[in-house]
């Protein structure tokens, strides 16, 4: 039995729903903050995820970074050696999707060549009439960047766990892979 620990960097434009998503995940869908309160600086959410059929688990240390430019620089100090990345945009905001490339660049600057598993999350999937980013477009871009794509609605409690579970699984797979490599060295 092993418990891995992963630092998960949660980024994306302001008000796309990063905190709502991480809080929904933390509370198992019990807590959706209706009123927007901007994250100034960063918040840490810690939650353990079990890996099916293994008895093992991954403890995610989610660094929820305020998306507003004013706070980003301070937050970046907490991004050192990230384990996994969760990049969020709002499907009803084309601009938030366009900025994903910039966020990715920013985070990669802290990865020091490490392979960092990542997901792209299109949040607010409940706003179907106001949708500006088509699923296929987001999916295609995610694939081109080596990210797995998920759509969520923190408000409707839809699919909020999926991106984090997928990251935990990817990190676990990386661990298994590294053990195999190391065993061949000795």
């Amino acid at each position: 039995m092993v418990k891995l620990r992963a630092k998960c960097i949660l980024v994306g434009d302001a008000s796309v729903g990063k905190s709502a998503l991480s809080q929904m995940f933390r509370s198992d869908g019990g807590h959706f903050q209706k009123n927007y309160s901007m994250t100034a600086g960063a918040e840490l959410v810690v939650k353990s995820v079990s890996i099916p059929d293994s008895g093992d688990s991954v403890e995610l240390f989610i660094v929820d970074s305020g998306g507003k430019e004013t706070f980003v620089e301070a937050c970046e100090k907490l991004w050192g050696q990230p384990s996994v990345l969760c990049l969020v945009f709002d499907v009803s905001s084309e601009a938030s999707f366009r900025n994903c490339g910039l966020w990715l660049e920013r985070v990669r600057a802290h990865c020091q060549g490490l392979q960092v598993p990542g997901v792209l999350v299109g949040n607010k999937s409940d706003l179907s009439s106001r949708r500006e980013v088509e699923t296929a477009v987001a999916q295609e871009w995610a694939r081109s960047q080596g990210l797995e794509y998920h759509e969520t609605s923190a408000k409707e409690m839809e699919n909020c766990e999926a991106p984090f579970l997928s990251l935990a699984r990817a990190f676990y797979a990386l661990y298994q892979d590294r053990i195999q490599t190391i065993q061949t060295l000795a």
Binding site: M1, V2, K3, L4, R5, A6, K7, V58, F61, Q81, S83, L114, F171, L174, Y175, R178, I179, I182, L185, A186
Partner: protein
């Protein structure tokens, strides 16, 4: 002489920041480079050894993989307090074989040794053997 099994110095691991029960930290002191301890994510990582008696060391030799920055501290107290830095180094990245690094010490005495890995070349780093040359 170099003592390959630190456990023969009466060393015990009293703390480790990571533990996968399949790769326990005791693997570091069993004198064997095939068995290893692996970190389970995030940095820093550390482990502490305790000796039964004060040991006077002239060399510490470490076999590891993907360790980048390592700091070694020692304590001469009986209760693992008041650690002081005795060495630090940035290891070279190796691929396909283990990293081997020596730290020369001029007869430094210690009851405890603490190894702090502050960064790695990968998410997970392994330590296969810590050997010391010295006298009890």
């Amino acid at each position: 002489m170099i003592d390959s099994a630190l456990s023969s110095f009466g060393a015990q691991v009293i703390l480790s920041a990571s533990s996968d029960e399949n790769y326990p930290p005791e693997n570091i002191i069993d004198g064997n480079t095939e068995s290893f301890w692996i970190s389970t994510g995030m940095f820093p990582q550390e482990f502490i050894f305790r000796f039964t008696d004060t040991v006077k060391m002239s060399l510490i030799n470490i076999h590891s993989y993907n360790v980048k920055n390592l700091r070694i501290e020692k304590s001469t107290s009986s209760d693992a307090t008041d650690f002081e830095v005795i060495a630090q180094k940035e290891f070279e990245h190796t691929e396909g074989h283990l990293q081997e690094n020596d730290f020369s010490l001029s007869g430094t005495t210690a009851t405890h040794l603490r190894f702090i890995i502050t960064s790695g070349y990968d998410h997970f780093v392994s330590v296969h053997r810590v050997a010391i040359e010295g006298t009890r």
